[in-house]
């Protein structure tokens, strides 16, 4: 069933690419009033190397065509020539803001393919680091979104707090951004001595900081003016484009794979799925998407706290780790909830040590695809606000 869904998705992507070509031809028939503006690939607000070919009339956006591929590294083709273990560092580099979640998704997929049951301790460790990583990712999204609407200070505050998570990860696995921590069948190390206590300290430190961000940015009058009612994604549009994650929840759709299609041990924790309510404007506007991320910070804190409390202290993290990863021939599509949405891995195995095909379903790609639809008619400044609210990572879009 999941395979059928994937097929539909591929078809959709194909259709969209065809659509782009038709639009390119239209670009040449400009009237005198219109100007083609190339935003990117070098621009402070494109969140990476993205090029947006924008047709503007004065400051009003008429049409946006995103051009991607500046960061294309042949990830999927690479994986066909790498063993399952060797693919993990490459998967780290896809969504470089949420590496732990990427590894998590991949590990879950391969484990499903190989029928590996992971010990409970490993599950807890995975959930804790994944949620920590989600906080780090959302902090970056919130901070950069503030930067997009012109507020510099919240960005620095968010980075200050994110720094503490990165320090914790550095203590955990030596890396600050690309962790290579979650492996198939286990994790690379157990928690080091003192890590759990430091994480508790971080949780106590971080909880009031959310209120600080709310005071400084979320309920700022200018910020609300800039983001409320702007770039509304109606729920049906979001679903038809395949938008997932906080962007979909911002549109009021209660869809979170951690609850709806639960994996690992997420069913053991008590947490809410925040959805956009249109508190400041319409349901699905930029403010809602932003606020869903803020609320998710709180929910992630809840999960981490419960997981740290419940986690079995002793146990072997290498217990279920296979000596060699050689899944029998077959295929699997597995999806997990990354900070950006449904992160899907389709793996086809022919029984050898390397996957014969590996496809990554990128949530940021689908989020970017609805850019044209939702930012038409808005002004240039709003367009960059909308782009910021979608929280895209070009490493994952281009792969």
């Amino acid at each position: 069933m999941s395979f059928q869904k994937l097929g539909m998705e591929l078809l959709l992507i194909k259709l969209k690419m065809g659509g782009n070509k038709i639009n390119n031809q239209n670009l040449n028939n400009n009237t005198d009033e219109e100007m083609v503006l190339n935003i990117g690939p070098q621009h402070p607000s494109t969140h990476g190397v993205l090029r947006l070919k924008t047709i503007t009339d004065g400051e009003i956006i008429k049409k946006i065509t995103p051009y991607i591929g500046y960061l294309h590294r042949c990830f999927e083709k690479h994986c066909e020539n790498l063993t399952y273990e060797q693919a993990i560092p490459f998967i780290d580099r896809c969504d470089y803001i949420g590496s732990m979640n990427n590894d998590f998704g991949y590990a879950v997929a391969v484990e499903k393919l190989m029928d590996i049951k992971v010990p409970e301790k490993v599950e807890y460790i995975r959930v804790i680091v994944a949620e920590m990583n989600r906080i780090a990712s959302h902090l970056l999204a919130v901070g950069v979104f503030g930067l997009d609407v012109g507020a510099v200070t919240p960005f620095v505050y968010c980075f200050r707090d994110r720094e503490r998570i990165l320090d914790l990860f550095e203590m955990l696995c030596g890396a600050r951004l690309l962790y290579n921590y979650i492996w198939v069948g286990g994790v690379s190390h157990d928690f080091p001595i003192g890590w759990v206590e430091k994480t508790y300290d971080f949780l106590d430190y971080f909880e009031p900081k959310i209120i600080e961000t709310n005071d400084l940015l979320t309920y700022n009058k200018i910020f609300i003016e800039r983001t409320a009612d702007v770039g509304v994604i109606p729920p049906e549009v979001a679903i038809s484009y395949g938008v997932t994650g906080p962007n979909l929840r911002g549109s009021g759709v209660k869809w979170d794979l951690r609850k709806n299609d639960t994996y690992s041990i997420y069913d053991k924790f008590d947490f809410d799925i925040p959805v956009g309510t249109g508190a400041m404007g319409t349901i699905g506007d930029c403010w809602d998407r932003y606020y869903v991320r803020i609320r998710e910070l709180e929910e992630s804190l809840k999960i981490i706290r419960q997981a740290l409390d419940q986690m079995p202290r002793d146990g072997d993290v290498y217990e279920s780790m296979p000596k060699k990863i050689r899944p029998k021939a077959g295929h699997i599509y597995s999806r997990t909830e990354s900070p950006r949405g449904d992160l899907g891995f389709y793996i086809e195995s022919d029984g050898s040590a390397t996957p014969s095909r590996l496809k990554l379903r990128s949530p940021a790609f689908t989020a970017l695809s609805c850019m044209d639809e939702i930012s038409k008619g808005w002004m240039l400044a709003d367009m960059l606000t909308i782009l910021g609210s979608l929280d895209i990572v070009l490493g994952e879009i281009d792969r």
Binding site: A151, R160, F223, A381
Partner: protein, 360 residues
Amino acid sequence: MVDFYINLFSSIELIKSYQSSIFIISVLLAGIPIFGFMAVNALVAVYVERKVSAFMQDRLGPMGHGVGLHAGKWGVLQTLADAIKLLTKEDIIPESADKKLFLLAPCIIFIGSFVAFAGFPFNEFLIAADFNLGLFYILAMSSVGVIGIILAGYSSNNKWSLYGSMRSAAQIVSYEIPAALSLLPIVMLSGSLAFKDIVLAQTGSTLGILPNWFIFNNPFMIIAFWLFFIAGVAEVNRTPFDLPEAESELVAGWMTEYSGMRWAFFFLAEYANMFIVAGVATIGFLGGWLSPIPGYFDGSIWGVFWLVSKTSFLIFVMMWFRWTFPRLRTDQLMRMCWKFFLPGSFFVIIGVGLWDLIMR
């Protein structure tokens, strides 16, 4: 100061007959200190801005420590190093730019704020050119810069620059009006456009303790002060009104193509304009060079001190704005100007007039 120098030189028998030379020398003698002041003001303000932003953001800002080549203790030499870097940088003019206008634009922007400084009083006597309509003159001159901004945006032949200059033209021209209208109550209360008379009208004390500044004159004046100050922030393109150079939208707006010394001139002008807006607010509403404790610490030197410190405080408030608020959108900016600021300033004018009529 110019009149003073002309009189001084004319009284010397030896050079009495060279009237035109005397005039030029007098103007230079009055003008060069202004240039010096503008440069020092920019150096200090940039350093303070960096430190203020750093402290607001949990950072240290420019720092130097230990021996070796660095920016001095607490980074005090940082802006000097930046200035040297800017002055020695390669001078780049884009190939497709309109060269003449491209070179002219920084000059116009700089001249705009320099000329405005000529009418700005630091105390009763320290004013380069004493007009009897100084307020009017400064308001007029502070909008000369917009021509330079439009030229810069147009001549760069860059879409970002064009956007920036279009926004800037709309913004500055619009906010001129509420800024000027909210200064009218001062003219109504003091009955003069000359800075000297405006400040002299604020001497003494009111209600026993408060100094008799115009801001404490009546409740409407507090509104007028805020209207002028916010419109002034918009006029000098500072956050939350920094749309013309909005770095997250327009890369660097109208100054995208400028670098090196020309860009440094824009910077110089920006901080000079900040000083002028804050200074006019100080003179008009906060008693100019008068001491906050009526009757004490008055005098020429104290006057300069009070004026500069009050102005610096207002500049600090502008920096505070910048590191706290997000940016408005063009249409919101215009709506704010025409729907709130303009009616607001009319309301204040009527209010102050009625108050004065009834209370006096």
